[in-house]
Every structure is written in C-alpha cells, then in structure tokens.
C-alpha cells in the first residue's frame, strides 16, 4: 500500500498480473487495498479509511482523519475565553451543549469561579437532554448503517422534541452557545419545566419501542454480537472512554469519578457491559438514556431558585438593565466584551463526560484574556485510533458496524 492509498491498480498491475488473467483463487489470496471515504455515507462525516482486504476479510485498516480540520485549537488562541464558547459548538456539532459545558468548566477551574447552584442544575439538565439527543442520533444512524432503517425515523422523531426544548431555552436547536463562563446565558423560560417533565414521561416508552424494533432482531444480533470485541485491558490501553469503554465492563464515568455541574447531588447508575462488543455498547448506551431521563427528573424536582450567574462581578456578564444606568456595570460590560478578563497564569486540564466519551480541554494561560494554547482531548479522535484493532479480522461490512459503535463525529475528531 502506498501513502496515497490509491493503490488498487499498483498492487495488482505492479505484480504484472491483470484482473482478467488472474484466477479467482489468486485474487482471494492477493491482498487488496481499497479506499473507503471520505465521502462514504457510513463514515459519519468525512473519515477516510484505507482498508487492506483479503477477500472480504479485513486484514488491516488505516484511518486517515483530517478532512474536517479547521484549525480550531489555533483559532481559539486568537479569541477571548468568552468568544471560544461558540467555537466549541463546532467541535461535536450534535451535542453542542456538552462541549460548551466542557469548555466553561475548564475555564471556571482555571479562574476559580464559583457558579450558583441553579445554574449548575440547569447546566446538568440541558447537558443530559443533549446527551439523549446525541445518543438518539447515534442509535438512528448506527441502526441505519447496519440495515435497520426504521429506527432512524423513530429516534429523529424524539430528537425533534429535545431540539424543541433546547430551542425554547437557548434560542437555537443545535449550536446553542448557551453556557457562559460563570453561569448561563439566560434562565429557563417558565413553561420549560412542564414541557420537560412531559417529555420525561413520554420518552421511556419510546425507548421501549426502539427495543421492540431491534433489541432481539436476529439480523441485528448477528451483526452486532461478537463484533469489534475489546477486552477491558485493551480498552484502557487504547484510551477509550465513555460508553465505548464501559461496554467492556470498565466502570469509569467522569460524572461519578470527578463530578462537575451538580452530578454529585443526583442519583444515577453507570450502566456497564461485559462482552465489549458492538452489542454490549449498544445496550450500555440504551441504558445510559434511561439514566439520563432519571437525572433529568431529579433535576426538575430539585431545581433550586436563585441567580444563574456568578456573584463575582469580574466574570459575571452584567445584567442588561444595569449596564446603561450603572457606571461599574458599564465598565465591566466593556472589559468583558472587548477583551475579557486577565485570567490567572497557569495550566489546567479539565475533562467532562460528553456523550462520546471524555472531552477534555487543556488550557495554557499566559495571564491575558486569550488562551496561550488550547488542546482538546477529543474522544472521537481517540476512538478512531481503536478502529484497526477493533475491525481487523472481521468482514468488510463489519467496518460499518464498528464505525457506528465507537460513535464518532468528525468535527471533533479533526477539530
């Protein structure tokens, strides 16, 4: 295989052998390299895979990410900490709220900002709603890739309910830019809580429906059980996180291990798989959705009253009403909006449990209003690295199942 990956012709004709002359046996024995993606619809974006095949068996796979590289980390260096919030929306564009939250939690740790309780609960509530939406997209597309078309119609129907909820709160369906350093953009509207409660009543029933459709479906089982197996040890060594890791039976959930927002105040279980195959991860994610609903319900019950922005005027974006009447607020508004706060010098790494896995932000601060360097630990990127190990030895059609099961989004992978 050559570097450019387009080695179909060279590997065959280079050996002075033409397709017409070769016997079927020779072709089977001959290793063939084919290029999959970056426009392949099942690669969930623009992932390019260079697959070495022995007949229909995958003997090697080489992921070539980078087609959606926008230089986000570099871009962040030229923006203030505040302006980076919309940029994080463009990382994992299915579950923007979790990216917002990950960034903001990291900045808050760097600056030592105390966030009021109500804001923490709303953040958690919105993050779990978004997690549901992310998992629904995953389930729909994963099933679609494997051949169960109907599921996608159902999951997107429910996802629409979540997006409507998101829009009533944040004003946008996906790229929400809702979480602010030190708090939230705005409080939730009055009718949101009722709507949300209504949704938590409906949603578990819908989950049953998805189970009815595929959980015991024999094709589904054949396509998922025993495919893409990862032992617990391998999963840890490969740096897998999130449901991909927990499918192998490793109990590691950042919401439990290092609670952020208000995850230490609610009860939920961490679903675990045992087999570490595609099916186990499917079960884990379905159960995670049930747990998310549980968290949302607790949030709705426990939601405290109070402010949604930190009390520290250095970081709190002032209330609009005071800006043009109060000199102090006006000064804060100008500094915050034009150049942001001179942050403390130092480095910080904070990881949060995004739907895809551990989303970490490593920030180096030089004491100005803009980060000196940001490194994003993107779960999708790490998971793509596990593809070769996962797929090798399986059929070529299992590549699709494995891409689905690691649940990647290329916006985050390539950054």
């Amino acid at each position: 295989m050559t570097d450019d990956g387009y080695s179909l012709t060279s590997s065959i004709y280079g050996e002075k052998m033409s397709l017409t002359n070769a016997t079927e046996k020779e072709i089977v024995q001959k290793e063939m390299t084919i290029n999959m993606g970056p426009q392949h619809p099942a690669t969930h974006g623009v992932l390019r895979l260079v697959v070495d095949l022995q007949g229909e068996t995958v003997v090697g796979i080489d992921p070539r990410p980078g087609y959606l590289h926008r230089g986000i980390e570099k871009w962040m260096e030229s923006r203030t900490y505040h302006q980076i919030i919309p940029i994080t929306d463009r990382l994992e564009y299915i579950t923007c709220m979790n990216n917002n939250l990950g960034w903001v939690v990291a900045v808050e740790k760097l600056a030592g900002i105390v966030v009021p309780e109500r804001a923490q609960f709303i953040r958690m509530l919105m993050a779990e709603l978004t997690r549901l939406s992310g998992h629904l997209v995953w389930l729909g597309t994963h099933a679609l890739d494997i051949g169960a078309m109907t599921v996608c119609m159902y999951t997107l129907r429910e996802r629409e309910l979540i997006l409507d909820l998101t829009e009533t709160v944040t004003g946008a369906r996906q790229t929400v830019s809702y979480v602010r350093i030190g708090g939230l953009r705005n409080d939730v509207p009055r009718d949101f809580l009722d709507k949300c409660r209504e949704f938590t009543e409906i949603f578990p029933k819908k989950l049953e429906d998805y189970d009815t459709l595929i959980r015991q479906n024999r094709i589904w089982l054949k396509r998922t059980k025993g495919i893409g197996k990862f032992s617990a040890e391998d999963a840890i060594n490969y740096g897998l996180t999130g449901a991909t890791l927990r499918g192998s039976g490793v109990n590691y959930d950042l919401r439990k291990v290092e609670p952020y927002a208000a995850y230490d105040k609610v009860e939920f279980d961490v679903p675990l798989g045992t087999e570490g195959d595609v099916y186990a991860r499917y079960i884990v994610r379905i159960n995670e959705m049930r747990q998310s609903v549980r968290i949302i319900k607790q949030c709705l019950d426990m939601l405290p009253e109070g402010p949604i922005m930190t009390a520290d005027p250095r970081y709190a974006v002032p209330d609009k009403a005071t800006v043009m009447t109060n000199m102090e607020a006006l000064a804060h508004q100008f500094v915050l909006m034009s150049k942001w706060v001179n942050m403390p010098k130092g480095e910080v790494y904070v990881a949060t449990e995004a739907p895809k896995g551990e989303l970490g932000f490593f920030i180096v601060s030089d004491g100005s209003g803009r980060p000196y360097r940001v490194k994003i630990r993107a779960p999708s990127f790490v998971h793509v690295g596990a593809l070769p190990k996962m797929v090798t030895g399986h059929m070529v059609s299992d590549v699709i199942a494995c891409i689905g099961t690691i649940d990647i989004v290329l916006g985050e992978c390539d950054r």
């Binding site: 005027p313 005071t322 102090e328 000064a331 500094v335 706060v341 001179n342």
Partner: protein, 726 residues
C-alpha cells in the same frame, strides 16, 4: 555596594537605590502595584491613592507607594484584603462623578480606570447622588477636553510642565469644581504635541483627529518610524479597515505635533494616483508602461546625443535607505554618470559626519551640562528639545543657552547668552573660557561649562565658516563633549550613507579608480571615472546647457525657490518621482507617482545614525508604487540588471557593499570611528546664498515651516495661524 537598601515586597527581597520609591522597588521586584497618576516620565505626585500599600510596623495604615521613599529593611505588602477594599472605595469615589460615556469614549478598551474597576470587581455603587457634569471644551485646535471624564490625576498638567516645559494646562477652581483647564478657559495655545492626550489615563483628553474613528480593540498596530525630522522617533501607526486613523509614539517616549498629527498628508486628496506625461504642453494621466517608455526613450536619446554626463539625478531625504541606494546605483550603472546628489545638502550642518557625530539623544540628560547653540532646537528637532528639558527638569542638570529670541528654554537655562547670532556669543564665550574675562553672564556660562565633567553641545543646523572654527575651538576646551548637530531633514543621514553624492560611493568611499573597480565588479557594470556634478553645479549646468535632463526623486526645489522654476524649464527632459504634484512636478515631462512612507517597507537612518525599520501600514494609493520598485522597473527597461523582490534584498546588497552597514543590526548605531571621513578636514554640506531660500515660511513656528508633506496635513494647517509667503 553600600549605596543600596534592602526592601522586601510581598516576600520578594530586592536591593534598590536609597532614593527609590516603593513603587520603583516593586517594579524591580516584579510586583505590580496599580497606578493612575504615576508615570515613569513624571515626578511622583500622589493624587489618586490607588497605589497604596501596607508597610509593616508603620503607624500609618495605608501609604501611597509612589511618593514614599524606601528605607532599609522595609517590608511592604501590596495586596491584602484591606488594601483591595480600600482601593475599591477609592475607585467607587472616582466613578461617582464619572459619566456613563464608555460607548462614545475613544479611550474605552485601553482606559486605565475601566481596567482597574474591572480588576477590582466593583459592585453597584452605594452613591445615588447626581453626577457632576462639566461642559466639554471643543474650541481648541487638535485637542478636545471632555472634562466630565477627568479623574484629576494631574498627569496632563505635569507632563506639559515637566516634560515639555510649556505649562499650558493647569488645575483651575477648587474642591469639587476643580478641573484641568487653561488660563481663563481660553483655547489651548501650546506646542500641540498631544503628549497630554497620550498620557491621560481616561478619555478626558482626546484628539479631534481620532475622534470616533475606531475602537482601541480593533486597531491594528504597525511599528514604524516618523519621517518628519532627523530624530527618527519610533511611531506606531494604528489602522482601522486598512486606513491609518491614529499615530502614537512607538517607544512610548515622545512625539511632536508633526509626528503625531501630521500623518494625514498621506490621505490628502491631491495624492498622485497615476503616472502623468506631458502631451502637447499638458500633463495627462498615462499608464505605467507609457510613462516609463517615455522616460527610457528620452534618457537614451539625450545620453546618445550629449553623453551620460548631461543627465543629472537629485535624490531625496524622504525616501528609505534602500531607495537612495538604488537611485544612485541606477544613475551610476544604468545612466552612467556620477551626477547624483542631494539638494538637502544645503541644509547639512557644517562638519556633519566629519567633525560632528551625534551622540544618542536619550543620553543628553546624562551630561553634567548642556550647551545649546541654537535656541530653536525644540522646533527643529523636537525630541532633542525634550531631552534638554528632561536634563534640566528631571535630572537637574545645568543648561547654557544661546538664544536670540525668547522661548521655553530661556526659563530653564542657568545662563542665557542673548546674542543675535552664535558667532557673537562664541566670540565672547571663548575668551571667557580661556582667561575668565568678560561680562557676568559669559563668565557664569564659562564657569558652568568648565566645571562640568561632561557637556552635551547642540550644534546649529547652519553655521558660517567662522562659527564652525569657533565651535571647534570651544569643543577642545571642554571635557567629555558629545555633539548633537541639528539635522532637520528626515533621512538625510541615510541618503548620504547610501552615497547619493557625486564624489562618494555608498559608505563614503571616495570616487577613484580603485573604488570604481571594486564597485564596478560588484555591480557588474561600467562606471564613470570622474566625480560628478554636485547639486548646485547641476542647477548651474542647466543654464549653460551642460545638463539637459534631470531625474528628481522626491524633492521639490521649485517649491522652495521660485527662481528655480525658470532654470528647470530650460531642461530638455525632466522626470519627477513624488507623492504629490509639487511645483517641480508641474514642470516635469513625466511624473511618476510614488508611495508615501506609510505605504512601503524599508529602513531609515536617524541623526543618531540608528538604523530603523519603516513598515507598511496602508496599501499603496491608486497605481502608486514604492520608489525602489519604480527605479528597478525603469532600470530593467533600460537594460540594467536589477532584480530585487523586496527592500530586504536591497538591504542585503547594501550590507555587502557598505562596511558601515555590514553588521548593523536593526535599531543599532554605526560607530563614528568606522566612517572613512571621521576626523577628515572636509565638508559635506553645500553653501549657496542664492539657491533654495525657504520662501514659504509660517510666521509662528519653525516646526511647520517646511515640507511637501507637512504643508498638506489638514491637522497641522489648523495649527498654523498665519502663513506668509516671502
């Protein structure tokens, strides 16, 4: 060292001079203390009280750090909860009368008050009283005063008095009615340097020029060099959407009114945007190809008909070193004549680069005494003037002034020698130095000069032969002399270094057979052997028919001297390369539009012989091109091998050809000992009573009296009260 004291600031121990303040000690320790009214340029004042600190074992709770000197083994805390709370209250009181002007205040974003309020996280104020409002003052030239925004730190008052020795601004009224104003609230009548605007921590002083033109956070800053006099002050062009909106001092040191406000000539509507050629008596726009073809044809015809020495070239002091170098190379290699010179040599101080080499301006104030032989130094080289004031006001040094008139230096001087010309003053001073005889003042001056272990001597820009020999004699009587010749024209030093001289190659290498061979080899061209005509000889040669064509790059002889118009009209062919349609350009057969200095890259050499970088802040206007590019294109069309991609390529060639520049780093100064002319008994200046009289003068200020560019600055024109033509 016995002369230090040990101070501990926030646990960091430093040794500082006993005269240092706590603020200076903190700076040495790397600890930041917030300030509003303190500045390195100014004496301690202590009006804002933001810089308070806690001193251990002091009976006083809070002490202002900017006015308190250190004592041995002092231990200082700069940040405690109490201090933070006290500073908050101080800021709250300052904000009490501060209008909600941030949205329309040009300072917002770089406002020290705003930053401090944010840094200390002030909550809503307890005070609900009505804010004091004072009517703004818009009736001064150039500078507006938004008095309501003032925090009464007094920086503007002090910088005007201490640094500029002008003292135009002062506090008037008392108590809560006090404000910064002028005598009887009259419009400002000062040097209009704008230093008060620069130093204002809030937006109380703003310039009319920059008003509402942009916000500080979206300005792009380009470091460059001022091109209005020989001082070569570092400037920072601030651009918005690709256009300059403001110029500030790049070194945070000083800018005069020309440097700060005079840049708007770049945006003048009369800028040339296309080449012009003369068709049946009229100058009409043409393409570059047409214009250059006309130049090539005519120069070639004249060269073939009358020889290369019938063509002359006049260089400029407003172009960069690279362009000057290329210009003389073009004349010598492509045209084939040594007739290349600077008319600005008429304004070179006698003895510059042979006897007098300027020292570093920033070191004037280190000398024990300053002898100023030309009282107009503040107008001619403003930065030099500021350094003299600094020597007296800040370092308490003695000033001996020779001045025929009366200006700010008279108030600072220890002794004023009030003579009409330096010649007369020196005639009295020299005997006093030698024998101690003479009038009271001369004797006092001589005593100061004799006593001083080091003297900075400001040499006039023009001296007679007698004065020249007198000065030389005087210098031999003084100890530790540093000379500071006044050089008015901007890149005069650079242009001379680059060999825009008929008898010297670049680097003051005398035209002769051995140097010719060396340069001919490096330039790969045949060079003329004999030295060429100097600028005056060229002008005279036009009358006699010896010179038939002139190539003038960036100079305007006809604008300075009307009499030259008739002479230039006699030329068969005249090419002018300039940024405006000057009086000279109006006579030209071909006019080539050049870029202004804000639109090109290159280097310039200041009167300190400091090599500095000029940077492009705007795109070239219209079809105008940098001078080096024009000359290079022309040279190629005439068959000369010139292939430079950027001015940096030219600078590399200069470094290989000119020993003075070989290892001269950007910002470095070439040593006087390395000049081939150092100590030689010769003179680079030209002298003529008849040519280049400055005919356009402004009645009030010498600072604005010259120049193609400064005459076209709108802001500066508002400062010139009367404009008389002689």
């Amino acid at each position: 060292m016995e002369n230090t004291v040990t101070v501990t600031i926030d646990g960091i121990t430093v040794k500082v001079k006993p005269t240092a303040t706590i603020l200076e000690a903190a700076k040495a320790a790397g600890v930041r203390i917030p300030v509003l009214c303190a500045d390195d340029k100014l004496h301690p004042y202590g009006s804002c009280r933001i810089c308070i600190v806690e001193i251990e074992k002091s009976p006083r709770k809070f002490t202002p750090s900017c006015t308190t000197p250190v004592t041995d083994n002092m231990s200082v805390k700069t940040m405690t909860p109490d201090l933070a709370e006290a500073r908050k209250r101080i800021l709250e009181l300052l904000l009490n009368n501060h209008p909600l002007d941030c949205p329309i205040c040009d300072k917002a974003g770089s406002c020290q008050l705003q930053d401090l309020v944010h840094e200390y996280g002030l909550g809503p104020s307890k005070f609900t009283e009505k804010k004091r409002t004072v009517a703004p003052s818009y009736h001064s030239n150039v500078i507006d005063r938004e008095v309501s925004r003032c925090v009464l730190c007094g920086k503007c008052v002090r910088v005007c008095r201490e640094q500029n020795a002008v003292g135009e601004l002062a506090f008037t009224r008392r108590g809560d009615k006090s404000k910064v104003s002028t005598d009887f609230d009259q419009p400002l009548d000062c040097e209009f340097c704008g230093e008060c605007v620069e130093i204002c921590p809030v937006g109380a002083l703003t310039t009319k020029q920059f008003k509402f033109k942009g916000r500080t956070w979206n300005l792009e800053r380009i470091q460059s060099v001022c091109n209005y006099c020989g001082c070569g002050c570092r400037t920072s062009f601030e651009t918005r959407l690709g256009r300059i909106v403001r110029v500030r001092s790049g070194a945070r040191n000083y800018l005069c009114s020309k440097g700060r406000f005079g840049w708007d000539a770049v945006h003048h509507q009369d800028r040339l945007t296309t080449p012009l050629v003369r068709v049946s008596g009229e100058l009409v726009p043409a393409t570059w190809d047409e214009a250059l073809a006309m130049v090539v044809t005519n120069l070639n015809v004249i060269k073939n008909k009358k020889g290369a020495d019938s063509i002359g070239g006049l260089g400029s002091v407003r172009t960069t070193n690279e362009e000057s170098y290329l210009f003389q190379k073009f004349m010598r290699t492509v045209v084939g004549t040594n007739n290349v010179d600077l008319l600005a040599r008429l304004k070179v101080p006698k003895g510059l680069n042979t006897v007098f080499f300027s020292g570093e301006l920033s070191k004037i104030s280190d000398h024990d005494a300053v002898l100023v032989l030309d009282g107009d130094v503040g107008e001619l080289n403003p930065l030099m003037g500021i350094e003299i004031v600094r020597a007296v006001n800040r370092n308490y040094k003695k000033l001996v002034l020779v001045n025929s008139g009366f200006n700010k230096f008279n108030r600072l001087a220890s002794v004023v020698l009030d003579y009409l010309a330096p010649e007369a003053a020196l005639a009295d001073l020299l005997p006093a130095m030698k024998s101690g005889k003479g009038g009271d003042r001369v004797v006092a001056a001589a005593a100061i000069l004799k006593e001083a272990a080091s003297v900075a001597v400001i040499i006039p820009g023009r001296t007679t032969d007698k004065e020249f020999s007198q000065i030389k004699e005087l210098l031999s009587l003084l100890k530790g002399v540093t000379t500071y010749p006044i050089v008015r024209r901007s890149n005069l030093q650079g242009a001379m270094d680059m060999g825009v001289l008929p008898d010297y190659y670049p680097g003051y290498q005398k035209v002769g057979s051995d140097t010719m061979n060396r340069f001919a080899g490096s330039w790969d061209a045949i060079l003329p052997e004999a030295p060429g005509l100097n600028a005056l000889e060229m002008l005279a040669g036009i009358k006699t028919g010896k010179v038939s064509a002139l190539y003038i790059m960036g100079d305007d002889p006809a604008g300075s001297d009307r009499g030259l118009k008739d002479i230039l009209n006699k030329l068969e062919f005249l090419v002018v390369q300039d940024i405006f349609l000057t009086e000279t350009a109006k006579l030209a057969d071909v006019v080539l539009p050049a870029c202004s200095w804000a639109e090109k890259y290159g280097t310039v050499t200041s009167l300190e012989r400091r090599l500095q970088q000029v940077s492009r802040a705007e795109e070239p206007l219209g079809e105008s091109k940098p001078d080096w590019d024009i000359i290079q294109t022309l040279a190629r069309k005439m068959g000369g091998p010139m292939h430079y991609g950027t001015p940096a390529d030219i600078l590399n060639e200069i470094r290989s050809m000119v020993p003075l520049y070989a290892d001269l780093a950007m910002g470095g100064i070439w040593a006087r000992e390395r000049s081939p002319l150092a100590g030689a008994d010769m003179d680079l200046s030209l002298w003529s009573d008849t040519v280049m009289k400055n005919e356009v003068i402004t009645a009030d200020r010498l600072l604005f009296s010259s120049g193609t560019m400064i005459g076209r600055s709108r802001e500066i024109s508002t400062l010139c009260r009367t404009k008389a033509e002689v």
